[in-house]
Amino acid sequence: MNNRVKQIVRFLISLKFGIILLIIIALYSVIGTVLPQHMPDEIYLQRYPSYGQLILALSLNRVYSSVIFTSLLVLFGLNLLGCTVKSLRGQLKQARKGFFPKTALIGEQMENSPDQADALAYFKYRKYQVEKHDRGFRAAKYRWGVLGPAVTHAGIIFVLAAGIISSAASREGFVNLLPGQEVTLDERGIALRLDDFYMTFLENGSVEQYFSDLTVSSGPDDQRSETIWVNRPMQYRGINFYQASFGWVSSLVIRDAETGETRTQRQMQDGQDFFFQPGHLTVVLYGFFPELAIGHNQQPVSLSHRQKNPHYGVVLYEFNRLAGTYIIGPGEVIRHGDWEITFSHSTLYTGILFRSDPSYPVALIGFIVLMLGMLISFYCYPRFAEYSDGALHTWSRKNGWVFHRTVSRHLDQS
């Protein structure tokens, strides 16, 4: 390797470059929180005419999934790895029994020199490794603590690796199901059936919890039934099933007013619309209100999800012109021209999110290693003391002042 390449490699695995990357990652992340994400390109061009092009060029419209951001994270991971490997050799030497830094004697000296026997007794009591020499003794503790940063960095590398695995290999899907409905999820042929969906309520009518009874199977001999709720997913063959959302589905019936013949019957969710060709009518189900009340802005609201006073908010358009707005009860008829429109039989459906993410165990290992590394770094850092010619010096790279103060306080008291 020529000098130029060596210089570049040295820079790429340097602390300086690591810090620069961290600052860029932080700034880029800030943009992702203030700029709306994942909107159509035209919106950025319209809303930000002077710098919309720049936003798109720098992928600021999808910061966290952009090539730029991913590259920054990969570079940071490599920097961390290089930095850690570079320092590891020296750290392993320092972690060995018998290592004593040359700098120890330029550490802090105690103002009142303690008695050698007292100092020795103190360090032995505190489980320091003590070596005697002609002019006094040396004491050291937690030499292995020097490996704390390497362990911490390893934890972060695991977490970054988990992020890459997640973006490459995680699969996610979402399905709305009515009780009794079944769907096949993927090419593996895993079937998901919703046996039941229900809620429990608190005294004030608010929802306490949402429950879905699920049966998942990949064949007649391999099926499992479980109840899931928010914070309690079900796991099956590497896929997690989450209680994600819920809603009401209501039955719309349109009849011929003269003959009473049913011309259409369908299920509609809140907010959905249906175009009825024979009458050139668009029926919009504004919402189902299980316990109707009128809000302070004269809009219908539901006090709870219990069907105590069920009503439907319906908007009708004829030839794209507003034809009327209605609040009706179940089975109550809206008569419009030759047609009778009713809503009834509202049932709860549930939204189930399913996701397989092989990166989670890697992330968990990363979390544990990271915490362990930080504990070692911050609380088991190496401490050294040398008693020589009647003077006691203490030295610690990370926390010299507190270490010196602690030793001084104890020895002064004794």
Binding site: L15, G18, I19, L22, I23, I25, A26, S29, V30, G32, T33, V34, V63, Y64, G163, E172, L202, N204, S206, V207, E208, Q209, Y210, W229, V230, N231, R232, P233, N240, Y242, A244, L353, R355, D357, Y360, A363, L364, F367, L370, M371, M374, L375, F378, R397, K398, N399, W401, V402
Partner: protein
């Protein structure tokens, strides 16, 4: 029930008043350095802290859970964390003057809490998890520690401009070192906050990381303090630059707590 609410409000307001009084006394102490004033300020802080603890305990009894689930509750707990951090530090090092720069932060956060709705609402389904206690409990300690570190850093910045005889703390290097130690604790706790939140999010929302604004700003805060610690430990960065970092870090903490809720849409909107 009504009497519990009454006493909770009473103790909360009394604690608030004592914090204001102690802040004023701490300022008088830093100006006059009268030992008696300092002791009184610490006693008032301790009194306020006991009442504050009582208010939070009463709320816990009333709600049947720890007070961690909305802006009022977290702000009240955050202020409690600040005062706890100060009292622990005072117990160990006896640096009374620090109170003048930490207590005002506590009463400002208390003031913010008192502007929020105090209604006790049942936990929404997403919050019904044991991780709530770990996640928010460690956030209280972490944010409290960062506030304390910020207060100490401000002392350093003031002292670094003053002559030796007029300094708030005799040795500026001591405030520099204390600020660092407190940040180490806060940083460790912030890591627990982020990790526990990630594990909880995996259970509740299917992803351990989703780049939600609250998550992202916690990470940004973590990065700020990580840069601070690296520069300090590896490059021996001390003094003014380190103190400014401690202040900027705390501004980021405040933005994560208040700014994100007010300005940015987030699935953490209840917090």
């Amino acid at each position: 029930m009504d009497s519990i609410i009454y006493f909770e409000n009473l103790t909360f307001n009394a604690a608030f008043i004592l914090y204001i009084a102690s802040s004023l006394l701490f300022f008088v102490y830093t100006a006059k350095l009268s030992e008696k004033t300092g002791k009184t300020a610490v006693l008032l802080t301790l009194g306020g802290f006991i009442l504050h603890t009582a208010a939070l305990t009463l709320r816990t009894i009333e709600a049947g859970r720890l007070p961690f689930s909305n802006q009022f509750e977290f702000a009240a707990s955050f202020a409690w964390g600040i005062v706890l951090s100060f009292l622990v530090l005072h117990r160990i090092y006896r640096f009374t003057a620090i109170g003048a720069f930490v207590q005002p932060l506590a009463f400002l956060v208390m003031g913010y809490a008192s502007m929020q709705s105090r209604a006790i609402r049942p936990l929404m389904p997403a919050l019904q998890s044991h991780w709530l206690t770990v996640h928010v409990g460690t956030a209280v300690l972490s944010y409290g520690a960062f506030a304390l570190a910020c207060g100490i850093a401000v002392i350093y910045l003031i002292d670094s401009r003053r002559e030796a005889g007029r300094r708030i703390l005799k040795h500026p290097e001591v405030s520099d070192m204390l600020s660092y130690r407190v940040i180490v604790f806060g940083f460790f706790m912030l890591t627990v906050v982020i990790i526990s939140g990630a594990i909880w999010a995996q259970q509740a929302w299917s992803r351990y990381w989703a780049w939600d604004p609250k998550e992202t700003w916690s990470l940004i805060t973590w990065i700020i303090y990580a840069v601070y610690l690296h520069l300090r430990i590896r490059r021996n960065w001390k003094g003014k630059a380190a103190a400014w970092f401690a202040v900027i870090g705390f501004i980021s903490v405040l933005f994560t707590f208040i700014g994100v809720n007010v300005l940015l849409p987030s699935i953490h909107s209840y917090a």
